[in-house]
Symmetry: C2
């Protein structure tokens, strides 16, 4: 069954990006601390044109998510690199560059119609019909695998509010950002979660949460 | 060495109490969800005049903290039951009743001078000299064990800001409260944490964090 899942790194104080995001610093101040756990991993390096890296339990968590993903849905801001003036430019280049790491069809939720693009193994489709339309297209393209929600926080909140997210895996980094973009914000109703797996290393705790009906 | 430690239950969205605390509901709305993991445990029941309960890995985490504690420091609001009009009454009874579960000396940080009280095995001393004085008295009374910071969030923040907290163990409940009292709020400078142990069960993840110097 094609499920909608989301893997996202979060600080202990609940932020998925630091304060003062810019095009040069799309994760905000100190936001890179959220992702320190991932840069050293073999599966991440392989996707980003590198080699080597560690093949430990954290790497297996990442590899498992990548293997299970048949399509990606992401927000306009995620595609073009955080919030800022450039987001008003509907033709802004994606910050993923000419070799995006996805290797599966990507669907960008946007208000601006735009022709699809193909870069290396990745086709990027811009969907103007809303989050349900994007999910529907992604499901059709996922070949029976999961649709992975790439973020940002606002899009995750929209899918949570619509009751469309099946699973959330939070990669909890033991850092405090003190400000920035909160993952759990703007939720319109209670969301019930069930921890279905927790794995931990010194650098990150992977919390896999099934989304249940609200209580 | 006597260290200052803190065990506290927190929701995934960072709250240690729900919204709208009252004397009848000192944990706020849905705040009891933070502590669901603990009520079933043998060590908790034993401390609260009950019997039976489970003796699983969660129970061992709790028992370990209780064994290691030689004295407790808590805030005035924690002593009298959350925020609210009653906190203006300096003689309000502690909401712990006549059989407080601590069984070690308790030091309450308050602005109101008050005579010490002894209830069962617990002596309660009211300290008006500030957080450092309370910690000093608690250390002297702890018999070489740890001083445990009982909360609430405001007092934890004061000790964090003063650089006096050595270890924080967050019991992370897989629930969203959507509002209430945040643990990581009002921090005056970056706090660097190091995860020194993570244990998890389906109902709670125990994150033990050493507090390092700010980066």
């Amino acid at each position: 069954m094609t499920r909608l899942t989301c893997d996202i790194s979060m600080s202990l104080d609940g932020f998925v990006a630091g304060p003062n995001q810019t095009l040069q610093q799309p994760l905000g101040e100190r936001g890179e601390l959220l992702h320190e756990w991932i840069f050293r991993l073999a599966s991440w390096r392989e996707r980003h044109g590198g080699s080597g890296g560690e093949t430990d339990a954290d790497d297996e968590v990442l590899a498992e998510s990548l293997r299970g993903t048949g399509a990606v849905v992401m927000g306009r801001r995620m595609y073009s690199g955080g919030e800022g003036p450039w987001e008003d430019d509907p033709n802004a280049e994606g910050w993923w560059g000419d070799e995006p790491p996805f290797r599966v069809p990507v669907f960008v939720v946007t208000h601006h119609p735009r022709e699809p693009e193909t870069k290396q193994d990745t086709t990027i489709t811009f969907v103007t019909g809303g989050i349900e339309a994007a999910l529907e297209q992604a499901r059709a393209a996922a070949g029976g695998k999961n649709v992975s929600l790439g973020g940002g926080a606002s899009l995750v909140q929209q899918y949570l509010n619509a009751g469309l997210l099946d699973e959330l895996q939070i990669h909890l980094a033991p850092v405090l950002l003190g400000g920035g973009v909160r993952l759990f914000d703007h939720l319109e109703k209670p969301v019930e979660l069930e921890a279905t797996r927790v794995l931990a290393s010194p650098s990150v705790t992977h919390l896999r949460l099934a989304i249940r009906a609200p209580r």
